[in-house]
C-alpha cells in the first residue's frame, strides 16, 4: 500500500506545481504576454470595446469611434495631418503609432489605480478611456500645410515641460479606409508616406554647432576670442571649406555661430579634443534611447558605434559642423534645442497630456520630469546669445519676428552625392523666456535659412500670439 500512497503524493505534488505554473502565466507574466507583439488580443478586443477617442490639447477631436449603420467605425477628421504619428489599428494590418501604443488606455485595459483594477475584475470595460494629447492642432495644421509639397518634418516642443506641440511628417497619408488604400499607400515609393521623417536619421549639418559649442566653451575658449576665417583651412591634411568658400574675416564665438563658420568650429572643436566633444554630444542624448511614447531611433556619432570611445582628428573636424558620420533625428534636434532654451535641462518629451475615463474623470496626468542636463546655466546663456545673433545678424535672419526675440540656428546638411542639401532650422522663442522650441527639416530642401526658417517662423508666431 506504500506504493499507492507515494504515487498519490507524487500526483498531488505535480498538480501543485501545475497550479504554480498557472500563477506564473496568469499573474506574474500576464502583462509581459499582453505586450508581446505577436499577441493580437488588443486588436481582437476592439470587437467588444468601443475604443476611446484621441483629442488635441484644446479638445479638438483627432480620432474617435462612431457607430455608423450599426458598425463601429474609427473616424479621423483630419487624419492626414497627424499621420504617421497617429498610426492606425485594424485587424488586417495590425497597429502602429499612437493608435497602437495607446491602445491599452483606449481599450480600457490599462490599470491606473487599485480601484480601477478591482472594478475590471468584475466587469469588462465596454468603453475605453479618452486620451488627450499635448499636440496643438493649430500648430500641427500650420506645420503640415507649410510643408506641403515638400518632404520633411516639423517638431515643436514646449521646452519647460517637454510637451510635444507639433509632430509633422510630410508627405503623409489618410488613415480612413486604410485596409482598402493600403497597397496604394505602400506603392508611393518616392513619397514614402509611411516613413516617420521626424524620427528618421539625417546628417544635422550646421545645427550641430550648438552641440559642438558646449565642447568648445568647456575647453576654455572665450566667447570674445577672435579668429580669422579665410574661407577654408587645413586640419591634419584635410581641407575644411566654408559654404560657398565665403571668408568671414575676424569672428568671435557669437559671430562664428551666427555666420555658421565651419573653420571656427572645426579648429576649436579639434582643439577641445575628441573626449570633450564626445562627452558634450553624450550630454545631449546621442547614443541614448529617448524616453517617449513613440519609438525614435537613437542618434549616433559614427557608423560603427553610436558613441565611440574616441574619434580620429579628421572625423572629429567634420563632426563639429554636423558632417562626417553624425546622424540625428529631427525629433532629437528639437529636444537639443529645447534643452538650450530650458537653461541646459532637456525635459523628457511626451505626447499624452492626460487620460479621461468614460465619465470624464482624470485617471492619469503627465507630470514634467527632466531627462538630461546637457549644459550649465552659463553655457546655455552663451549659446542662446549666439543663436540670437544668428537671427538678428546672421544666417537665421529669415526666422526673425518683429515683436519677439527668436534664437535660431540654420543648417544645410550634405547628404552625400550630387543632390541639394537638407535644409535644417532649429529655434526657440522668446529668447529670454522660451515657450516653444522647434526643429524643421526639409529633405533636399536647399539652405536652412531659405527653406526651413520661414516655416518655423510662422509656427512660432502662431504659438506665441494666442498664449
Amino acid at each position: 500500500m506504500r506504493g499507492i500512497r507515494q504515487v498519490a503524493l507524487g500526483m498531488a505534488f505535480s498538480f501543485f506545481v501545475l497550479s504554480l505554473g498557472l500563477v506564473y502565466w496568469q499573474v506574474v507574466k500576464a502583462d509581459t504576454l499582453l505586450n508581446n507583439p505577436a499577441n493580437r488580443r488588443m486588436i481582437l478586443m476592439e470587437n467588444r470595446v468601443t475604443r476611446g477617442g484621441i483629442f488635441d490639447r484644446n479638445g479638438e477631436v483627432i480620432a474617435k469611434t462612431q457607430l455608423l449603420n450599426g458598425k463601429k467605425v474609427r473616424v479621423y477628421s483630419n487624419g492626414e495631418m497627424y499621420e504617421p504619428a497617429l498610426g492606425y489599428s485594424t485587424v488586417k494590418l495590425g497597429a502602429s503609432g499612437l493608435e497602437g501604443s495607446l491602445a491599452d488606455w483606449m481599450l480600457g485595459l490599462k490599470k491606473a489605480n487599485p480601484t480601477q483594477s478591482v472594478q475590471q475584475l468584475f466587469a469588462l470595460p465596454r468603453t475605453g478611456d479618452d486620451v488627450v494629447l499635448t499636440l496643438d492642432s493649430r500648430l500641427q495644421r500650420l506645420a503640415y500645410n507649410a510643408l506641403k509639397g515638400k518632404m520633411g518634418a516639423v517638431v515643436a516642443i514646449d521646452p519647460r515641460t517637454g510637451e510635444v506641440l507639433a509632430l509633422v511628417s510630410q508627405p503623409s497619408f489618410d488613415p480612413t479606409d486604410l485596409d482598402q488604400n493600403w497597397n496604394e499607400i505602400v506603392n508611393r515609393e518616392i513619397e514614402r508616406p509611411l516613413e516617420q521623417r521626424y524620427a528618421s536619421l539625417y546628417p544635422p549639418g550646421s545645427t550641430m554647432k550648438v552641440v559642438t559649442s558646449a565642447a568648445v566653451l568647456r575647453s576654455g575658449v572665450n566667447t570674445t576670442d577672435l579668429y580669422e576665417c579665410r574661407g577654408s583651412t587645413i586640419i591634419n591634411g584635410q581641407v575644411i571649406r566654408e559654404q560657398n568658400d565665403k571668408a568671414h574675416g575676424w569672428v568671435n564665438y557669437n559671430m562664428a555661430l551666427a555666420e555658421s563658420c565651419n573653420t571656427y568650429f572645426a579648429t576649436f572643436g579639434v582643439q577641445a579634443g575628441s573626449e570633450k566633444f564626445l562627452s558634450a554630444v553624450k550630454g545631449f542624448g546621442f547614443g541614448q534611447p529617448i524616453p517617449f511614447e513613440l519609438n525614435v531611433p537613437t542618434s549616433s556619432v559614427t557608423k560603427a558605434a553610436k558613441i565611440p570611445t574616441t574619434l580620429n582628428t579628421n572625423l572629429l573636424a567634420a563632426s563639429t559642423f554636423g558632417q562626417g558620420e553624425i546622424l540625428v533625428t529631427p525629433f532629437h534636434m528639437a529636444l537639443i534645442t529645447a534643452g538650450i532654451a530650458n537653461q541646459g535641462v532637456i525635459m523628457a518629451p511626451h505626447l499624452v497630456d492626460r487620460v479621461l475615463d468614460p465619465s470624464q474623470n482624470v485617471i492619469f496626468e503627465q507630470k514634467p520630469k527632466p531627462w538630461l542636463t546637457a549644459l550649465s546655466k552659463t553655457e546655455a546663456e552663451q549659446i542662446t546669445s549666439a543663436m540670437v545673433t544668428a537671427v538678428t545678424d546672421g544666417t537665421a535672419a529669415p526666422g526673425a519676428l518683429s515683436n519677439v526675440q527668436v534664437a535660431g540656428k540654420t543648417g544645410s546638411a550634405e547628404p552625400g552625392g550630387d543632390v541639394p542639401t537638407h535644409a535644417w532650422y532649429i529655434a526657440f522663442a522668446p529668447a529670454e523666456k522660451p515657450r516653444i522650441a522647434i526643429a524643421v527639416m526639409v529633405e533636399n530642401g536647399g539652405t536652412g535659412g531659405g527653406t526651413a526658417a520661414p516655416i518655423a517662423r510662422q509656427i512660432i508666431q502662431e504659438a506665441l500670439i494666442r498664449k
Binding site: 504515487v7 500526483m11 498531488a12 501545475l18 505554473g21 500563477v23 488580443r41
Partner: protein, 427 residues
C-alpha cells in the same frame, strides 16, 4: 438522498446557466433536447443509485459530472456546430457508465482474458498504423462507418486490463526476483518477457504514429503501475535512464521531436510559425488574469489552434481566469485521489491494481496535457478527459469510471455482507 440530488441539481444548474449565457442562437433546437436528455440521465442515474443501493465512493461521480458539464459548456462556447456530437457522446458515455456499473456482476471476470487484452491493444494500434489517417501531425485516427475514431483511447482500456491481470498474476515474482544480478535480484525472462515485449510494441507503434503524448502516458502508466504493485524503487530507478536514453535517441533521430523541444524552449523565437500554438495558448491563459474575461468574452476560442480538444484548458483558463482554472485542477485532483482511495479500500488484489491503474491513467493524462499547454513540458497532443471534444475519449473514460465505481461499490457491498454474515443465521 437529499445530498445526492442537490449536488446533481447544482451541477446541472451551472450547466444550464452556462449554456444560457452563451445564447446558443443558431443551433438551439437540437442542442436543447440533447442537454435535456443529459439532464434526465444524470437525475435518473442518481435515483437509480438510490434504488440499487449504491454504496461506493460518493464523490467521484458528481465531480466527474461537474467536469463533464463544464466541458459541454465550453465545447458549445468554442464551436456550437459540433457541440451536438459531444452531447451525443456524453449521453452515450453516461449510459455505458451505468451499464458497466450495474451490469457487470464481478469485475474479476475481466481478469479471465489475460493476454487477450494485450493482443487486442497491439492489434488496435497496428491497424491504426496501417490504415489510419493523419490528423494534426499524428496518424492516430481511424475512419469507421463515417466516424473518425481514436483506437489509442480504447487501447488505454485494454492495456489497463492487461496490466492489471499480468501484474496480479506475477506480483510475487516481480517483487522478489529469481535471477541475481550483482546486488539486485531480477525476475527471470519468462516472467518479464511478455511485459517487456508488450511495452516495446505499444510504445514503438505509438512513436511510429507520432502520438508522443499517448506514448508518454503509457510509459508512465507502465512504470507507475509496476511500482505500485511491487513497491520496488529498482523499477523506478531503471525507468529513468531508459526514458532519457529513448528521449535522446528520439531527439537525435526525428525532426518533429527536435522541433517540439525547440519550440518548448523558446516559443517566442517564432511565435507566428512553429511556436504559434503554444504562444497563442499562453496569450489566452495570460489574458485570463485572476477572474478571467467571463464566459464567451475571451479571444482564445478563435485564436488558439485546436482550442476544442487539446487546448480547451487554455480557453477555460482565459474565460474563467486563475480561479476557474484552479477549480478545474481541483476537480481532477479529487477524482484522481478518490481513485487511489478506492484502490486502497478494495478487498482483492486485482481490484486494487485496476483502481490504482485508473487513478494513474487519469492523473498522468491530465498532468501531461495541462503541463503542455502551460509550457511546463513540451507540448504533446492529448485530450483532457471529459472536457476535450472527442467521442472515443469520452466513452473510454466513462467506461473506466464505470469500472472504478464498480470496484468501489463491490468493496462496500462485500464488507457489508461479511458484517452481516453472523446475522443471517439469526433471522
Amino acid at each position: 438522498m437529499i445530498l445526492r440530488l442537490t449536488s446533481r441539481v447544482l451541477i446541472l444548474g451551472m450547466m444550464w446557466l452556462g449554456l444560457n449565457l452563451l445564447k446558443w442562437d443558431g443551433a438551439m433546437g437540437p442542442l436543447f433536447w440533447q442537454a435535456l436528455i443529459f439532464t434526465v440521465i444524470v437525475l435518473v442515474g442518481s435515483l437509480m443509485e438510490q434504488i440499487f443501493h449504491y454504496q461506493g465512493d460518493p464523490f467521484i461521480l458528481p465531480v466527474v459530472q461537474a467536469i463533464m458539464a463544464l466541458g459541454l459548456v465550453f465545447v458549445v462556447r468554442i464551436n456550437p456546430g459540433v457541440a451536438l456530437h459531444q452531447f451525443w457522446w456524453a449521453n452515450l458515455g453516461m449510459l455505458m457508465f451505468y451499464v458497466v456499473l450495474w451490469a457487470i456482476r464481478d469485475y474479476r471476470s475481466f481478469g479471465r482474458f489475460r493476454y487477450i487484452w494485450g493482443l487486442l491493444a497491439v492489434t488496435l494500434l497496428l491497424v491504426t498504423l496501417l490504415v489510419g489517417s493523419e490528423v494534426g501531425g499524428a496518424t492516430s485516427s481511424l475512419k469507421f462507418l463515417g466516424f473518425g475514431f481514436q483506437p489509442e483511447e480504447f487501447v488505454k482500456l485494454t492495456l489497463l486490463l492487461f496490466m492489471a491481470t499480468y501484474l496480479e498474476e506475477n506480483e510475487e515474482l516481480l517483487r522478489i526476483g529469481t535471477v541475481q544480478l550483482g546486488r539486485f535480484s531480477l525476475p527471470d525472462w519468462r516472467t518479464l518477457g511478455p511485459f517487456i515485449i508488450m511495452v516495446a510494441f505499444v510504445l514503438g507503434i505509438l512513436a511510429a504514429q507520432k502520438s508522443l503524448g499517448t506514448a508518454l502516458v503509457f510509459y508512465l502508466l507502465f512504470v507507475l503501475m509496476l511500482y505500485v504493485v511491487t513497491e520496488r524503487t529498482l523499477y523506478l530507478g531503471i525507468s529513468l535512464p531508459i526514458f532519457f536514453l529513448t528521449g535522446t535517441v528520439g531527439y537525435l533521430l526525428f525532426r518533429h521531436v527536435r522541433v517540439r523541444v525547440a519550440v518548448w524552449m523558446d516559443p517566442w523565437q517564432d511565435p507566428t510559425g512553429m511556436g504559434y500554438q503554444i504562444a497563442q495558448s499562453l496569450f489566452a491563459i495570460g489574458g485570463g488574469n485572476i477572474l478571467g474575461t467571463g464566459l464567451g468574452n475571451g479571444i482564445g476560442a478563435s485564436t488558439v489552434p485546436v482550442a476544442i480538444s487539446d487546448f480547451i484548458f487554455s480557453v477555460i483558463a482565459e474565460e474563467l481566469g486563475f480561479a476557474g482554472a484552479m477549480a478545474v485542477l481541483m476537480l481532477f485532483l479529487i477524482v484522481v485521489m478518490r481513485a487511489f482511495a478506492v484502490s486502497l479500500k478494495a478487498k482483492d488484489r486485482f481490484g486494487q491494481i485496476l483502481a490504482a491503474g485508473i487513478g494513474i491513467l487519469l492523473g498522468t493524462e491530465t498532468l501531461i496535457i495541462l503541463a503542455g499547454v502551460t509550457k511546463l513540458l513540451p507540448l504533446t497532443g492529448l485530450p483532457l478527459p471529459w472536457v476535450s471534444y472527442g467521442g472515443s475519449s469520452l466513452i473510454v473514460h466513462f467506461i473506466l469510471l464505470g469500472v472504478l465505481l464498480n470496484i468501489s461499490n463491490a468493496t462496500a457491498v462485500s464488507s457489508h455482507s461479511t458484517k452481516n454474515k453472523g446475522r443471517e443465521y439469526a433471522t
